[in-house]
């Protein structure tokens, strides 16, 4: 699935100060039967977001109109549990382009990068600052600068650097995923295949 290029993202953020948010919460297993990649956003955090009669749960952050934006800020160990790629699809499909946390589960991080969500790992102290800033003012804007690999809280000017591997950074900047990368080297693949003995 092609996704939007990621360079500098300036946006308000949605705070989810919960630790160990697992992929079963992000997208419950019963929504995995679909044969398409669309529509997962509707079921993002389904059981936290809706009562069993499908009425919205008032106190869940996605149902609170004060908070909005393209950045989701989560607690430590975000995306743990089952390796389902659907979790990242749901977050992207809902409209988020970046998730900020002090620690990401490995597979979730890989899945996110591959479908166009930038996982930004910050120090626990900086994460705390972000949560406090949003709590004080829900309109707080964050800026994630991928070329410079920095994240800042615009109101206060506080800034931190984050790490990302060179290959994935290149892909994100260009809106490429692995499939695009491979499509771009088809000639090289063809040549290789023509020498293969099978």
């Amino acid at each position: 699935m092609a996704y939007d290029k990621f360079s500098v993202l300036k946006s308000t953020a949605v705070p989810l100060p919960i630790e160990n948010v697992d992929t079963d919460q992000i997208i419950p297993a019963r929504f995995l039967k679909a044969t398409k990649r669309e529509g997962f956003g509707d079921n993002l955090f389904r059981d936290w977001r809706y009562n069993s009669d499908d009425s919205p749960k008032r106190d869940f952050v996605l149902n609170n109109p004060i908070y909005s934006g393209k950045i989701l800020v989560g607690g430590k160990n975000f995306g743990s549990g089952s390796s389902r790629e659907h979790a990242a699809w749901a977050i992207y499909d809902y409209g988020f382009r970046a998730v900020v946390s002090s620690f990401f589960a490995d597979i979730f991080k890989g899945n996110s990068l591959n479908i166009g969500i930038l996982p930004v790992t910050v120090s626990p102290e900086f994460l705390d600052k972000i949560f406090k800033a949003i709590e004080a003012d829900p309109k707080t804007e964050l800026e994630i600068n991928l070329p410079n690999q920095t994240i800042s809280i615009l109101a206060t000017g506080e800034k931190e650097s984050f790490a990302i591997n060179g290959y994935k950074k290149h892909n994100m900047l260009n809106g490429f995923d692995d499939i695009d990368y491979l499509q771009a080297m088809k000639e090289e693949i063809k040549t290789f295949a023509s020498h293969s003995m099978y």
Binding site: M1, T35, K168, A193
Partner: protein, 467 residues
């Protein structure tokens, strides 16, 4: 420059890296791609959305297996979801020109059974499929592993995936297997020693006399279960046994191509001074017929032993107790003599001709126990024909058993072959997870010999007493 000594795994891996990405994964070329009805539809949809095609349709092979019924295959598939998936596979294969052995095709069967038996799987290849037991094909000295849906789409569109190279482990077992000890017991024994996560992050090479003396069917059973050890896959160096098995198979190279291939295959060995990231050694004499008692494949032991105390297993105490509670077992109980309700012979682990021969060797001249429901499911139509030709069917029929039609069946219970809640099944498949063989089903993984012994006695029985 002198060549650095390499392992079998290095040789095959390195020969398939098209590009090494600095600070990123390897671009890895895939020789053979297997697909089935369950994990392919979303990948095909992805191609459509992007407006791209299948790069090398003749490198992908499709079979229907996961969702298929194992009786009355000539009738329309009743479950609409299954029928839908089967139809999607058929249409996608027709659209992109991929060879498809669907239901009713004489070549149809479980993907990891039909690949090898038709010579599609060859030494030195890289092989992937959207099914974790793709590791089976490693028996031929191929690098074979399971992939996710995005990767299925990658392989269809570019014949490559992006992979960091795993670490290497060698498991060496020398000596001779005792009476009644068959290939399935070897990986179950390893699992009981290293646990279901003992090889996480590694690719295994199985080496030593035990594997050298094993048939191809046996080697497939071993490599099949490498994934249950947490490994990415497992492989065994090709040798005369491998070459003899492949000679004359439908898609094996012929004539000059065969000679050329053979010369290459003979180089596929780990060099004497090659280094592994981890080495484990076991002794064949320590292995007796195995059986699992818990809810992961690492929770198994010798059939004559008792269920271990919590303090003797690597799993945490709480999860171990939960596991035993699910099984309705207790610590320190004997496993022999436990009542069994179902016996399942089949799956890509033990659905080959040798497994049916082993099963028949015990039931011959005996009768199925009245309390047992037995599902005997060949891995493919070719296996099914062999069973008939070799007279095995007559032995089974005389003993009161019936043969079903090929498919994954009760291995994952996606079709109607579900073990009812609370019932005990001695199963020759690969996973004993909670609910794997049906909601509430209790699975004891074991060899075809142990399955046969249970089938004729109605309880867990040491097969050595019946041989």
């Amino acid at each position: 420059m002198s060549k650095v000594a390499g392992t079998l795994f290095d040789k095959v891996w390195d020969a398939h890296v098209i590009r090494k990405i600095e600070d990123g994964p390897d671009v890895f070329f895939i020789d053979r791609h297997f697909i089935h009805e369950v994990t392919s539809p979303v990948a095909f949809l992805g191609l459509q959305t992007r407006g791209i095609g299948v790069m090398f349709p003749d490198r992908t092979f499709a079979t229907a297996d996961h969702n298929t019924p194992t009786i009355n295959q000539h009738l329309a598939v009743k479950d609409p979801l299954s029928a839908n998936q089967l139809k999607a596979l058929e249409e996608n294969c027709a659209k992109y020109g991929i060879s498809h052995w669907g239901l009713g095709n004489p070549k149809n069967g479980i993907v990891h059974v039909v690949g090898p038996e038709n010579g599609i799987t060859l030494p030195g290849m890289t092989i992937v499929c959207g099914d974790s037991h793709t590791s089976t094909h490693g028996a031929f000295g191929a690098i074979a592993f399971g992939i996710g849906t995005s990767e299925v789409e990658m392989v269809l569109s570019s014949q490559c995936i992006m992979q960091p190279k795993p670490k290497k482990m060698r498991i060496t077992i020398n000596g001779k297997l005792g009476k009644g000890v068959v290939p399935k017991d070897v990986p179950l024994y390893i699992l009981s020693q290293i646990s279901a996560s003992g090889a996480t992050g590694y690719f295994i090479e199985f080496a030593g006399e035990v594997f050298e003396n094993m048939s191809m069917e046996g080697r497939m059973t071993v490599c099949n279960l490498s994934i249950e050890m947490g490994a990415r896959g497992g492989m065994i160096a090709p040798d005369e046994t491998t070459f003899a098995y492949l000679k004359g198979k439908e898609k094996s190279p012929k004539g000059e191509a065969w000679d050329k291939a053979l010369a290459y295959w003979k180089t596929l060995k780990t060099d004497a001074d090659a280094v592994f990231d981890m080495e484990l050694k076991f002794d064949a004499a320590d292995i007796e017929p195995q059986i699992t008692y818990g809810t992961n494949p690492g929770l198994g032991t010798g059939i004559s032993k008792k269920i271990p105390l919590a303090s003797h297993v690597k799993d945490g105490e709480a999860s171990y107790k939960k596991s035993l509670a699910y099984m309705g077992f207790a610590e320190d109980e004997k496993i022999i003599g436990k009542k069994v309700d179902y016996v399942f012979l089949g799956s890509c682990t033990n659905g080959r001709i040798e497994d049916f021969r082993a099963f028949a060797s015990i039931v011959k001249g005996r009768k199925k126990a009245d309390n047992i429901t037995a599902w005997l499911v060949p891995g493919s139509h070719i296996v099914e024909s062999q069973i008939k030709e070799e007279g095995i069917l007559d032995i089974l029929t005389a003993a009161g058993f019936q043969l079903r039609q090929p498919g994954c069946s009760a291995c994952l219970a996606m079709n109607d072959d579900k073990i009812p809640a609370g019932k005990y099944a001695v199963s020759t498949s690969n996973r004993n997870f909670e609910g794997r063989q049906g909601p509430g089903a209790r699975t004891l993984l074991a060899s075809p010999l142990v399955a046969a012994a249970a089938a004729v006695t109605g309880v867990v029985t040491d097969p050595r007493e019946l041989l």
